[in-house]
Every structure is written in structure tokens, then in C-alpha cells.
Point group: C2
Chain length 223, copies 2
DNA sequence: TACGCCATCCTATCACTGATAGGTTACTAG
DNA sequence: CTAGTAACCTATCAGTGATAGGATGGCGTA
């Protein structure tokens, strides 16, 4: 029995050769260097995926040695989590902006849903890290501060759901169930589009519009 | 600046020591050995995750050398894809069984939805491989036969949606949009539950019931 | 029964990965 | 001017997926 190997892409232009180390290295203060690393890592993760981006690629792009990364992040996973945290802080602020914007209630829900979907598709790498990554299956993770921004973003979303419900724009029932179910419906589309971009989706824009319309009708008050 | 490393779990009982090689090795025919490998890999993937399972762990569990795996699968990814394919064949047959079962139309839709969710949560590892894994972001994958069972399962699902729509049990509109949106709604819940089992979901059973009810109401014909 | 093929399986080794150990350098407070 | 320390380095580790090439045993055929 013989299996033919698919020839590996990226042969001539190896990712590991991405941006040779800068000739002159400037020392940076911890916080600045940390931001520097996150910026380059974000770009690389988006291009090559997380598993496809090595710590050496990141270090080369930044212009420091690979072990120097570990002065700022305990592990590669911690770096990814920090990126996710950064992205979710911006999601939370996005939700906050929509909540405080002067938008009448029904349109506010739609704005929230479309904002969420747009965020997920834009920040694909960070969104994957937060919601689609394979974590330890049986091991209960000790408190991880990098998950917090995601939780806060959800909490903010849940608060808005509670408000809309109180105002009578959303169906009755458990607010937690409502928020989680609504979140799941939004997430489902984002996750599938991100995980299977090669699927014959047809017109993606139209598909999103269709799904949003269904969601709005499903969760709004029938009264 | 000093970062404290989280101490690595699995220290004393390293996963790599999982099941020492069997003393007496029996030669198996290609197809049998292949099934053997898939069975052990499935168990290990579920326990340690895909990235957390090395090819050496799989080989040790099976009782063969690590390079011997490559006589049956070109890459570790190919092995994972084969597992996914096997699982999705069973999903397709599940859908087929529900379709041909003697269930009146509205209950048939609910049976389909609950069957799908149950499958996803049971076959977590395979489901992840098929729908939640990080793939190449910019590279268009050449035809991959292991994706076929997943596509066929979706096609079967879409056919049933078309039928229910023709019978007047589902709302009007593009059948493709309807099937994709419905799939996304189901997937969203499964994906979140699998990716974030540590989230404070509350009563998961009740949450699933709530979501299914919403989906049924959302996609059924309002007439 | 004897032969030879070839699928099965092995050991040895590769390049690369994430991570660690321990020394060097440059900025800065006193 | 002189510590002290944060920033950074080189060298190296064990483990990973994958490859090269040789050993072996069962089976069809002469």
C-alpha cells in the first residue's frame, strides 16, 4: 500500500524566511515591545494561521531573537490569548458604542447583530482563538485572565438583551437562555464562514442578510 | 519583566507513555490495520485533543512504530480527515434514517435538528475536524475526498429541507439560504458548547431545548 | 516443496518546533 | 561614575511530523 503525499506548499518562499531580522535593533520598553509583538503576530496569524506561525517567524518579523518573546509571553498560547483579549476588548467597546448610540430599539438589535458578524469576519484570527480553538478537553483550566474580555463582551451583550427584553422588544423567557441562544445563532454563521470559506456559499452577503432577518424574526416579541 | 510559566500538566503520566507497545505484534492486512489506527486515534483525539495527540502516541496505542502510520495515511492531517469522513458517513446515514423513518413532517424536522446536535456533541473530535478546525486561510485547497462525506451529509440535509419546504412546512424563499441558515443555527450551539465547555451555560439540556424551540419557530411556515 | 514477490514493519535520522539556561549589553537611578 | 536591572543574545533541549532505506514474513506460483 502506497500513499502519495500532497506536495507541500510554501517551498521556495518559506514562511520561516519572513522578513529577515532588522540590521539595527532598537531596544524598546517592555510594554512597547509587547504591543510590537502582538501587532506582528496578529498579521502572521491571519496569513498563515496560528499553528502555521512559528515563534521564530514572529521573532524575525519583530526583529528580536525567538527566546526574547518569552520575556513578554509565557507560552505561544499565552501570546494568542493576549491577541484574543485585545480583539475582544474592541468588540466590547463596539457593543458599548452601539448600546449608547441613539438608535431606536428594534434597529439597535439589528445593529448589534450585524456589528457582531462584521467583527467576527474582520478579526478572523482573534475570533478563532476566542471561540473556535481546540482547548484541553478534560482538564479544567485555572482562571485565565485573557478570557475576561470575551466574557465581558458577552456580559455587555447579555445586558443589552435584558434591556431589550424589559422594553418588550424581545420574546419572554429566561434572559440567559435568550442571550446564549442569540449568541449561538450569530456565532454559527460566523464560525461556518470562517472555517469553510471554500464551501459553495453562493452570495455570502445575501446569505448573511437572510440569516439576520431570520434571527430578528425569531427572537423579537411576537406581540 | 518576568513572566511566570503555568506549570505543565501531565507531568508524571506523560501522554507519550500511553499504552506501551504490545509485546507481540501481529501483522494485519492494510484495511484492518487502517481501521485499527482510526479507532485508537479517535479515542486519543477525544481525550487529548488533536494537537495534543502525537503520531507516536497513536503508534504506541496501536502497537506499531510511528513511521508505519505513514503507510496508511500520508500525513497526520490526512488521518484526522479520514476520521472526520468516517464520522460524517454515520451522520449522513443518521439523516437518511430519520428521513425514511415514519415520522410526520413537523416532528421530522425536530428529530433532524436534535439528531444533528446529539451527533455533534457525541462525536466532538470528528465534528471539530470537519467544521471547527483552522484550515489554510488564503490557500485554496485542492479537491479533498475526505470532505466529501460532510458535503454529502449536508446535501442530504438540504434535500430534506427542500422536501419540507415543498410540503409547506418551512417558510418560503431560497432553499439554499434556508438550509445554510438552519445549519448555521444548529452549528452555532454545538460549536460553542464544544469550544467553551467551561462557560457557565447553566442547564445545558434546557438551553438546547430552548434553542431548538426557537429554531423550529423561526424556520417553520407562518401560514 | 521451493522460490520470489511485496506488503508490512522496523531503526535511524531529518529539519523544525516550543521552550529553557545562562551569559552579555545598554539604559538609568543614585 | 557606578551599581542594578531590564532587554536581549547564543546555545541547547526534548519532542514533533515526516523521510530513507533495510529487514521480515506470508502467499501465490512453479
Amino acid at each position: 500500500m502506497t500513499i502519495y503525499r500532497k506536495k507541500s506548499a510554501q517551498q521556495s518562499t518559506s514562511p520561516s524566511a519572513d522578513a529577515p531580522r532588522a540590521a539595527i535593533v532598537h531596544r524598546l520598553k517592555g510594554a512597547d515591545r509587547r504591543e510590537d509583538i502582538l501587532n506582528h503576530a496578529s498579521r502572521l496569524f491571519l496569513t498563515y494561521g496560528i499553528a502555521g506561525t512559528s515563534t521564530r517567524m514572529i521573532a524575525n518579523a519583530v526583529g528580536i531573537s525567538q527566546p526574547s518573546l518569552y520575556a513578554h509571553f509565557a507560552t505561544k498560547e499565552a501570546l494568542a490569548n493576549a491577541l484574543s483579549a485585545r480583539a475582544f476588548s474592541s468588540l466590547e467597546s463596539l457593543i458599548g458604542r452601539i448600546r449608547t448610540a441613539d438608535i431606536p430599539a428594534p434597529a439597535r438589535l439589528e445593529a448589534m447583530i450585524r456589528g457582531y458578524i462584521g467583527f467576527a469576519l474582520d478579526q478572523g484570527a482573534a475570533y478563532r482563538i476566542a471561540f473556535m480553538l481546540e482547548g484541553p478537553m478534560h482538564e479544567v483550566e485555572a482562571f485565565n485572565p485573557d478570557i475576561l474580555p470575551g466574557m465581558q463582551a458577552f456580559a455587555s451583550f447579555r445586558d443589552e438583551v435584558a434591556l431589550l427584553q424589559q422594553e418588550g422588544h424581545l420574546r419572554e423567557g429566561s434572559t440567559d437562555h435568550l442571550a446564549q441562544s442569540l449568541w449561538a445563532s450569530m456565532h454559527g454563521l460566523c464560525a461556518l464562514l470562517l472555517a469553510r470559506p471554500d464551501f459553495p456559499w453562493g452570495d455570502v452577503e445575501a446569505m448573511i442578510d437572510f440569516h439576520v432577518e431570520i434571527i430578528l424574526a425569531a427572537y423579537q416579541n411576537k406581540a
